[in-house]
């Protein structure tokens, strides 16, 4: 894709690549800052009958920038017993895996970094790389809390990777493609029992898959009720315990950036992505697409953070039992039913 049909300008591949990289590098911090402000600062505060940050900017809206500035100013500390090279690399591995995740999420008919043929499969594979970064962080810190946190995180991420992937399979069967643009198109053109006015957002036909995907995404993000890897009362901050300054900020942005990306993937898979009914194709769809996707992302992110602020923490064995004994069999059944219906209907 060396052309930008949007503006009818032909660009060399390296120019297009530079623009795409720039766009992703802008979207990730902005997306995670929005999530931090709207949900972590404000929604949680109001749910707990308090105001949250109010001083910096109108209604405390510049607080996130103040926090980022604070982290950037802090000293870059290495623990005395740490493995320095691995310790320094770990946050980079985690945040790079988050960055690459954005390459396949479409925000409009032409607004996608690369419409890969393997689309959603690519996203799931790339998101699994962050486990290596977490293990690197936990081991290289030279602290027992960090190591325990990393081992917990790994066990949890591996266990919930399976339901996450299997929940997507139902959507893939129904859409008949792995490409995320193809999945959006399949929902736009789909019909619900012959009623094609609003297309067929897969949340209706794949509701089980949507719920499994959200639960697994919650665990992948190590958010409450699945936050044993960073359980404050037991492990200080898990694999992040020894990190400070901009390296901690990397982990923080990666966590919320991944939340933003997973919400985007969920919106694309189940809520129709950038598509809304009755909108003409072409330039307008390209302009409205990011806004539509943004609204859907905020809705999914609201569900994720709602869970985060209302449920108590699981026990480690309950977490594993939920994944292996309930979610995986359920998603396998979902796949079987979807496959049969796909052939029969």
């Amino acid at each position: 894709m060396t052309a930008l049909p949007l503006l009818a300008i032909e660009l060399a591949w390296w120019q297009a690549t530079a623009i795409k990289v720039g766009a992703v590098l802008t979207v990730i911090p902005i997306g995670s800052l929005i999530l931090v402000y709207v949900f972590l600062f404000k929604m949680m505060s109001h749910m707990q009958s308090r105001l949250g940050p109010m001083e910096a900017g109108p209604h405390g809206s510049l607080q996130v920038l103040a926090e980022a500035g604070k982290f950037l100013q802090k000293e870059d500390i290495f623990p005395a017993r740490a493995d320095r090279a691995v310790f320094a690399m770990a946050p980079v591995v985690v945040i790079v895996s988050t960055f690459i995740l954005y390459a396949v999420i479409p925000a409009g008919p032409d607004l996608i970094v690369e419409d890969l043929d393997v689309g959603i499969f690519f996203a799931l594979a790339v998101s699994s790389v962050s486990v290596i970064g977490i293990l690197m962080a936990g081991w290289s810190s030279g602290s027992k809390y960090s190591l325990l946190g990393a081992l917990r995180a790994t066990g949890q991420l591996i266990a919930y990777e399976l339901p996450l992937v299997l929940a997507v399979v139902g959507v893939v069967i129904q859409a008949g493609t792995l490409s995320l643009q193809g999945i959006v198109a399949a929902q736009a053109e789909g019909e619900i029992f012959g009623f094609g006015l609003i297309g067929n957002p897969f949340i209706f036909t794949q509701f089980v898959g949507f719920v499994i995907f959200l639960v697994a995404a919650q665990a992948e993000l190590t958010q409450t009720p699945f936050d044993m890897p960073i359980a404050e009362s037991e492990l200080v901050a898990g694999y992040m315990t020894e990190y400070s300054g901009f390296r901690f900020l990397f982990f923080f942005i990666a966590e919320f950036g991944t939340a933003f990306a997973l919400a985007g993937i969920a919106s694309t898979l189940f809520l129709g992505g950038w598509y809304v009914p009755f909108l003409p194709d072409g330039l307008l769809a390209n302009l409205a697409g990011p806004a539509v996707l943004g609204v859907k992302i905020m809705f999914v992110a609201f569900l994720i953070f709602w869970m985060r602020f209302t449920f108590p923490r699981f026990r480690e064995d309950q977490l594993q039992a939920l994944a292996w004994k309930f979610l995986i069999p359920l998603s396998l059944a979902n796949i079987a039913v979807t496959a049969v219906l796909k052939v029969v209907m």
Partner: protein, 163 residues
């Protein structure tokens, strides 16, 4: 083509150096992490060959699962920070001989099969084509492998479990 050759050269160099470090590193965790670099390089080579599906599978299976299990096992048992003495195996000469012989066999089979022929570039590897060939052309071998893997899984559980 020049760009592809350039990237192939870079990938090959990085993979070669990392592969050497896998066997010379004085720390098991470092060795495993260098292995990640090698396996990631393999995924990169697959992408250069336009085999996206193979590349993504490489990342998901080898980096996301196999190496993670290596690291998990190492960290659960014995993985001190810093250099470990006696990490070298007694049989390293034998291993080197086997590795050189394997390299010889692979090189010879390549030259024997293709010689200096320049192959026509082929567009391979769309996911649909991979799926079609697995589930139409090679359906029976695929199912047999699935059953074999299932048997291996059950066997591993039976062996690991002591009543």
């Amino acid at each position: 083509m020049i760009v592809q050759n350039l990237f192939f050269g870079m990938l090959a160099t990085v993979m070669g150096l990392a592969a050497i470090r896998v066997v010379t590193a004085q720390n098991v965790v470092h060795a495993a992490l260098y292995l990640v670099v090698v396996l990631g390089g393999v995924a990169g080579i697959f992408i250069l060959l336009a085999a996206e599906f193979a590349a993504v599978t490489q990342v998901l299976v080898y980096i996301g699962a196999v190496v993670v299990l290596f690291l998990f096992g190492l960290m659960l048992t014995r993985a001190p920070i810093g250099k470990t003495a006696n990490l070298d195996n007694d049989q390293k000469v034998l291993a080197a001989v086997v590795a050189v012989m394997l390299l010889g066999v692979l090189l010879w089979s390549q030259f024997d099969a293709f010689g200096r022929a320049i192959l026509e570039p082929q567009r391979v590897g769309t996911t649909g084509m991979v799926g079609d060939s697995i589930f139409v052309q090679y359906l029976i071998p695929f199912e047999i492998i699935s059953v074999l893997l299932l048997a291996a899984l059950v066997g591993a559980i039976v062996l690991a479990r002591k009543e």
